[in-house]
């Protein structure tokens, strides 16, 4: 695994930067246009969550190559307030900011693997992977 790109998310324009990087790497790895759109949308959701709830954090994008399988991994991490009830944020329609509440469950459906780790007042780390088929 090698990190291809790391974007610090501090303002709304960093979200655009992060997903641009994601799209480029996805294209390089050979993902089709639908998967490129899925990956960029997932990055957009994760980066926006960082911007909205934690204020600042980072998005790391790396490529994976495990026994011939090629994949793209996104790690979104922040030192923000953390998530109180992880089960709840993974439910469709749950929101604390008046949005649609489709972000995190949506990311899980857009990608192939998804894990979330969060401690209150310490921060959140989300790792998600898409495999090339």
């Amino acid at each position: 695994m090698n990190i291809q790109s790391c974007v610090e998310v501090r303002n709304e324009w960093d979200i655009v930067k992060a997903r641009q990087e994601g799209r480029n790497i996805a294209k390089e790895l050979g993902f089709g246009s639908v998967d490129q759109a899925r990956i960029t949308t997932a990055i957009s959701e994760l980066a926006r969550n960082i911007y909205l709830y934690a204020g600042k954090g980072r998005i790391e994008i790396s490529n994976l190559d495990s026994s011939g399988k090629i994949g793209l991994r996104i790690i979104a991490s922040d030192d923000g307030p953390g998530i109180k009830d992880i089960r709840k944020v993974m439910e469709d329609g749950f929101t604390t900011s008046g949005g649609l509440g489709a972000g995190l469950p949506g990311v899980k459906r857009l990608m192939d693997e998804f894990s979330i780790d969060s401690k209150e007042n310490e921060g959140t780390e989300i790792i998600t992977t898409k495999w090339l088929r």
């Binding site: 709304e12 655009v16 997903r19 949308t41 469950p105 949506g106």
Partner: protein, 273 residues
């Protein structure tokens, strides 16, 4: 500045010049200036040197118009601020070493050192300010330009308007879209509005949320929105995200949207005989 210092510099002008030019040549690649012709680079260096030197002789403690004009010209040509600051820093280093070679008394050297620092730092600061102002200016102009392009509502037929959206939608733009939609609906007495998202690269939950809110607001003032220009990959991500767009009509292309908008206002396009 001390007359003696200036005199000494004048005496050693050629040597300072040669050493400075050599230094500037060695840092050329750091400032990504390799693709500028050798002659242009040399001429600019000579001009820069003459300006600094004239400045020194005139004994000014502020960057004068000549220097700021020169800086502005370079910024416009795309040269970097670091070229100017490093040029000045090299100049300081060289005149100090010339100074140490000629003046042996250590207290005097220290005074001169202090004097030169006081002379050169305000100039560097002013150049940095100038460049920052330059950037701020560009950014604010582009912001205005972007805002003008942001969310136009175009009346196409009687009662039918189109809003083509191109590029990323952020919160500020989403607000403008909403405002322009509502004022446009009233102003043009539109009944149907086509929102075209062909040019929106990513439709995530925030963008969808804003579009849903905008169309809901449009419904409240008595018109209806049709979302058009949904590319296949965007359709798939919207489904994956689980966004419910069942509430309002969507069409794949602007053409199809226009057809149903005409139908809704009881008209259709026919060929003439």
């Amino acid at each position: 500045m001390d007359k003696l210092i200036i005199q000494m510099f004048n005496k050693n002008r050629q040597e300072i010049f040669n050493r400075w030019m050599e230094e500037m040549e060695s840092i050329r690649e750091d400032h990504r200036l390799q693709n500028i012709s050798d002659k242009a680079y040399k001429d600019t260096n000579v001009e820069f040197f003459n300006i600094i030197f004239a400045h020194l002789e005139r004994n000014e403690y502020k960057a004068n118009d000549e220097l700021t004009d020169f800086a502005e010209k370079l910024f416009q040509l795309g040269w970097r601020l670091s070229y100017l600051t490093q040029g000045l820093q090299n100049f300081r280093r060289i005149i100090l070493s010339v100074l140490f070679d000629t003046e042996k008394s250590s207290t005097k050297v220290f005074d001169m050192f202090d004097e030169i620092d006081r002379w050169i730092d305000p100039i560097i600061n002013q150049l940095i300010n100038e460049s920052a102002k330059n950037w701020e200016n560009t950014v604010s102009i582009q912001k205005v330009a972007l805002q003008e392009l942001s969310a136009p509502l175009i009346p196409v037929f009687e009662n039918i308007s189109v809003m083509p959206l191109i590029g990323t939608i952020d919160t500020e733009r989403a607000k403008l879209i909403m405002e322009n939609l509502l004022t446009g609906v009233i102003k043009h007495r539109s009944q149907v509005i086509l929102i075209d998202i062909t040019g929106v690269p990513v439709v995530d939950t925030m963008v969808a949320h804003h579009i849903i809110q905008a169309s809901e607001a449009v419904r409240l003032v008595g018109a209806q929105c049709i979302l058009v220009g949904i590319r296949p990959e965007i359709a798939q991500t919207i489904v994956n995200l689980g966004i419910d767009l069942g509430q309002f009509p969507t069409k794949s292309t602007l053409y199809k949207g226009m057809q149903s908008a005409l139908e809704m206002t009881k008209r259709k396009i026919t060929e003439t005989e």
